[in-house]
């Protein structure tokens, strides 16, 4: 009696431990994969993100990895348990009652065979069905998301019928899939319960004939379901497991695919500077507007930025081709050109975020890409605001928050009408498009002031601003240049080009033929 009680207790405790430890293991593996994937991003970020969309990567690292729970947390332990426990139980059964043991040995393989057969015959159908289901499952979401559009055209009232119809179609198709999916569960259950019946009846008959003792008969009867249980559970977890495996494979692919060598190359110091070659882009002096440069450096001034044969490739395509030029501090340089002319890639290369050939000199000295980030303030084409209070958003990356400077930067960007303690949502939600753009400008200004960056790169900074607001922001660019910085603005706005000291026009077609030997005139003007 006591022995029975103790064994019950032992079984309960080991069961609790098995579950807890298995899930802990799964969680740990997930954490490790997540950490390694995040680290891989740093090694080869832009290349990696160029290959797969950021949303895809984020989903994979977020929910995608959760699919591993089923594989590591449930399937694998169950598989190991099956491998250990099933032979043990079958062995005990064989010893206790050979006839039952043999029955179990003969019927056990039916389960995996059934599973494989059903799996094979239904997989193709299922895959096709699930894809159609995915579209149908979206039906309701689509109506809800498009509700305002439907209302505009007075179509909202008919949608109730449509929703009912789509959902019913969804039910019909799902049930067709489920009828097959549940078959495997049916087979598992049937195999197990019929085996119990088989054993019970045969044991009973042999008991009547006196071939077996009652105690042994009961022992066998209780033990038989336990022989099937692990294998049944493996079968039940099989689906979850295959999902988990797919997710794991994708993450591992992401990790292995990270172009470690290329990334390393892009982070190495730029190649030694060769003789200056012809400029391949047209640089035009805009006007003879005298740029206020801090007094003494008019003659022996060093250009804030010098490019020598800068070439950027995206895949097989050359997007920036042997671009050379140099620009003095105190200048506002407007960069323009049609989509795909390499404007954004140019900024990325100067920043050191995009792999490139050729030399990038800051204040006349070659600086390794990784260190350039420290000396350049930048605002990208998308505002890319982080979440949180506005002043922390503006002071992104600063070790301490200088409230006065945040105030000056917000004023500089014309954003002092938004309260500083406004809390932005996870993707910077809560600001309108124009406000978000100015917040991103304020952020670049804050960095430029805090770290005294001599170069400020701005990518389409006024595209979401109306003309009046734009005028204020342009005055800000001039003020920034007047402090002795080089302000590079990628833009399509005429007002910005008109206010610039120099214009760099990038053309996709001029990249094929080396341009004529026009001198870089941006600095010659002074």
């Amino acid at each position: 009696m006591i022995a029975t009680a103790l064994s019950i207790l032992a079984r309960a405790i080991t069961q609790a431990l098995l579950d807890a430890l298995a899930v802990r293991g799964a969680a740990r593996v997930k954490s490790q994969l997540r950490e390694r994937a995040v680290a891989a991003l740093d090694a080869g970020g832009s290349e990696l993100l160029a290959r797969s969309s950021s949303a895809r990567v984020a989903t994979l690292l977020g929910q995608g990895l959760d699919a591993l729970d089923g594989y590591i947390g449930r399937y694998l332990p169950q598989l190991i348990l099956t491998a250990v426990a099933t032979p043990l139980i079958v062995g005990v059964l064989l010893l206790a009652d050979a006839a039952t043991g043999i029955t179990v040995i003969l019927t056990l393989p039916i389960i995996p065979v059934f599973m494989v057969l059903i799996g094979l015959s239904t997989r193709a159908v299922q895959k096709k069905q699930w894809q159609q289901l995915g579209a149908l499952a979206q039906g309701f979401l689509e109506v809800v998301q498009g509700l305002s559009t439907l209302m505009i055209f007075g179509r909202q009232h008919r949608q109730a019928d449509r929703i009912a119809a789509v959902t019913d179609e969804y039910r019909r198709r799902t049930m067709a899939v489920l009828r097959l999916s549940f078959l495997s569960g049916f087979a598992l259950e049937l195999a197990a319960s019929l085996s119990v019946a088989l054993v019970a009846v045969s044991v009973g008959i042999r008991l009547i004939e006196g071939e077996l003792l009652l105690g042994l008969g009961l022992f066998v009867l209780i033990l038989v379901p336990e022989a099937y249980l692990p294998l049944r559970q493996v079968g039940a977890q099989f689906h979850a497991a295959s999902e988990g495996l797919t997710a794991a494979e994708e993450v591992l692919e992401l990790l292995e695919g990270a172009p470690a060598s290329e990334a390393a190359a892009s982070l190495q110091p730029a190649a030694p500077i060769g003789p200056s070659l012809p400029v391949s882009a047209e640089t035009i002096a805009m006007s003879d507007r005298s740029t206020p440069v801090s007094a003494s450096d008019a003659d022996d001034a060093v250009p804030a930025l010098t490019l020598r044969d800068l070439t950027v490739r995206r895949g097989d395509r050359v997007v920036v081709d042997r671009l050379s030029g140099s620009w003095m501090p105190g200048t506002v340089l407007a960069v323009t050109g049609p989509s795909g002319a390499g404007k954004t890639s140019l900024l990325g290369a100067v920043l050191g975020l995009v792999a490139h050939e050729g030399a990038v000199l800051l204040d006349g000295a070659a600086v390794p890409p990784a260190e350039r980030l420290d000396r350049i303030a930048w605002a990208g084409q998308r505002p890319d605001l982080t979440g949180g209070p506005l002043d922390e958003v503006v002071a992104l990356g600063a070790p301490t928050l200088d409230h006065d400077q945040v105030g000056r930067s917000l004023r500089w960007a014309g954003l002092d009408d938004v309260p500083r303690r406004t809390v932005l949502g996870p993707a910077g939600d809560g600001l309108s498009g124009g406000q978000a753009q100015r917040a991103a400008l304020a952020r670049a200004h804050y960095r430029a002031q805090q770290r005294d960056c001599r170069i400020v790169l701005l990518d389409e900074p006024t595209s979401a601003l109306d003309a009046e607001t734009e005028r204020g922001v342009i005055a800000g660019f001039r003020a920034l240049a007047a402090e002795g910085r080089l302000v590079v603005v990628v833009t399509h706005r005429r007002a910005v080009m008109a206010a610039a000291d120099a214009l760099l026009r990038l053309e996709p077609e001029t990249r094929d033929a080396p341009a004529s030997a026009a001198p870089a005139v941006a600095e010659a003007r002074r």
């Binding site: 579950d19 998301q145 993707a427």
Partner: protein, 552 residues
């Protein structure tokens, strides 16, 4: 609020008549499992007494029948149960949609963010679990447990009592463990998972920015910290689940022992036979396996309740004061020229204290093309929403001399059509995306209107009107989406057309030319066009300008 939640929950349960077969099949399946063990045990024990095999015939048949029944009934239960739940889902979706209609689009709490709308739909679908994972296991477990207790008590009252006590104690302690340990972890896991996904997405999507500002290390640390918190919560939840499973194993074993103890006197008195004793002792094992479904039902119930709570929070039961309400007896449509006249117009978004648009005077007559400018936050989009009666207003707004408050909002929208900042494209063909604006249009008319908005070549290049636009217009660029929206508006042939920031999602270098083309396509002597834009509009394209001063 609670009554509201109850209404939402009730809508997700299939009608009893449809639900009953699933419940009955569930009881039959679980009952067969218990009966299979009971008859097998009795069969073996009785066989040991070596009676003529004839006496055992019915038990042998019973064992085989219950074995078959368990598997067959379970299969049918799952099919019928899922079918019923899906049928209920259709009704549930329609009822939630009907609730949405009077408050959509501007009265939905916080749903101006698309992801919240997705969450709403997910919550609605999660309510399927109420019949499938809450009610069905609950009813099945309680019925089978009750029947088993009655059956056992009929043979030996003491054993019945032991079984009842065993079931109640085990289920109660499992519920307690779940409540104390797992529920807190459960509640933390969903927000933590969302926070982690957000953090990962922020890190991945803003990687360049974070890197450029030297903030990547801090963000990486945050991802890893959230990951750690999530891992701890998950481990805790798993420990709870493991303990609950163990509790049921323990409960089954202890009930077996207790039954053995309390039936000893009856056996000694000869009130029960040996085979009966064996059966009584083994039944608890099977019954507790059935009852073990209850903790899962409890967790599912918590999840379902939270979903219902969120639905009622997002979709207000009462229409907020800031939204227009259709008049009980709408006035007749304006017959004259649809001149829009606004006098002292102010408007406010639901739940916001300050007016987003204040004291506006504006007039818009056929043939007018007016550009509305103003800094961000000056109320430009608010104006657009007031004009199509998504938002109510103070002051006066007349359409063709008729106060719009006396008109059905749908009637106003037949005259005033809005091209939204991000027009919604449905995951269907180009044709379907145009037809719902005017479903009697012929293909020639559709192609003609596409030509007018500059999409003729684009449509041909894709293989005609049957080409798909992709999920949420994935296969279409921002500029093309705007052109389709204008094409739809032209098809609807409304006399007033409002363009809200048509260049918001368009490459900056294409913005000005797109705006010019759209205005060119929309222009007509009979049509009034109001365009809201931050992209500069050339004077030649418009007949007037209006500047909104910031409301703040």
């Amino acid at each position: 609020m609670t009554g509201d939640r109850r209404a939402v929950l009730r809508a997700s349960v299939p009608p009893l008549r449809a639900f009953l077969p699933a419940l009955a099949l569930g009881v039959l399946a679980s009952g067969s499992a218990v009966a299979l063990l009971a008859t097998s045990a009795w069969l073996i024990a009785r066989s040991a007494e070596q009676p003529p095999i004839l006496f055992l015939g019915f038990a042998i048949v019973g064992v085989r029948a219950f074995a078959l029944g368990r598997a067959v009934f379970r299969y049918l239960e799952r099919l019928v149960g899922h079918d019923g739940a899906f049928r209920a889902l259709a009704g549930l979706r329609v009822s939630v949609f009907r609730r949405l209609l009077p408050v959509a689009p501007d009265g939905l709490q916080g749903t101006r963010r698309g992801d919240l709308l997705t969450a709403l739909v997910r919550d609605v679908d999660a309510l399927q679990d109420l019949p499938l994972r809450v009610l069905q296991p609950l009813v099945t477990a309680l019925t089978v447990a009750g029947l088993a207790v009655v059956g056992v008590a009929w043979v030996a009252p003491a054993a019945g009592l032991a079984l009842a006590v065993g079931i109640v104690l085990t289920a109660a302690s499992a519920a307690l463990v779940l409540r104390l340990v797992s529920r807190r972890a459960d509640e933390r896991i969903a927000p933590l998972r969302a926070a982690l996904t957000d953090a990962v997405l922020e890190y991945v999507a803003r990687w360049e920015t974070l890197r450029a500002f030297g903030a990547d290390a801090a963000h990486r640390a945050r991802v890893i910290d959230l990951d750690g918190q999530l891992r701890r919560a998950e481990t805790r939840q798993a420990a709870a689940a493991g303990s609950v499973a163990a509790l049921f194993t323990l409960g089954a074993g202890l009930t077996l022992l207790a039954t053995l103890l309390v039936t000893q006197p009856s056996l000694a008195q000869g009130a029960i036979t040996g085979p009966q004793l064996v059966m009584l002792v083994l039944v608890p094992l099977a019954v507790l396996e059935v009852v073990a479904a209850l903790p899962g039902a409890l967790s599912a119930w918590w999840r379902v309740r939270a979903s219902a709570e969120r639905i009622t929070a997002v979709v207000p039961a009462a229409v907020p004061a800031e939204l227009p309400v259709p008049p009980a007896r709408p006035a007749a449509a304006p017959s004259g020229a649809p001149v829009i006249r606004l006098r002292g117009l102010s408007a406010r978004w639901p739940g916001e204290a300050a007016a987003a648009l204040r004291d506006l005077d504006l007039e818009l007559a056929p043939g007018d093309r007016i550009v509305v400018e103003g800094s961000s936050g000056a109320g430009k989009t608010t104006l657009a929403h007031v004009l199509v009666r998504f938002l109510d207003h103070e002051g006066s707004y007349t359409l063709g001399g008729v106060d719009v408050r006396t008109l059905d909002p749908d009637e106003v929208r037949r005259h005033v059509v809005l091209c939204e900042q991000s027009p919604h494209l449905f995951d269907e063909s180009i044709r379907q995306n145009l037809l719902f604006a005017h479903d009697a249009a012929t293909d020639d008319e559709l192609l003609g209107v596409l030509e007018r908005v500059g999409l003729g070549d684009w449509c041909r290049a894709r293989g005609g009107l049957d080409a798909p636009v992709g999920e949420r217009g994935r296969l279409v660029s921002g500029g093309e989406a705007q052109r389709i929206a204008v094409a739809r508006a032209l098809l609807a042939d409304a006399p007033v057309l409002i363009l809200d920031e048509p260049t918001a999602n368009v490459d900056p270098d294409r913005a000005e030319s797109l705006l010019a083309e759209l205005l060119g396509a929309a222009a007509g002597p009979e049509r009034a066009v109001l365009v809201i834009s931050h992209t500069p509009v050339a004077d030649a394209l418009v007949t007037g300008r209006h500047r909104l001063a910031a409301a703040r």
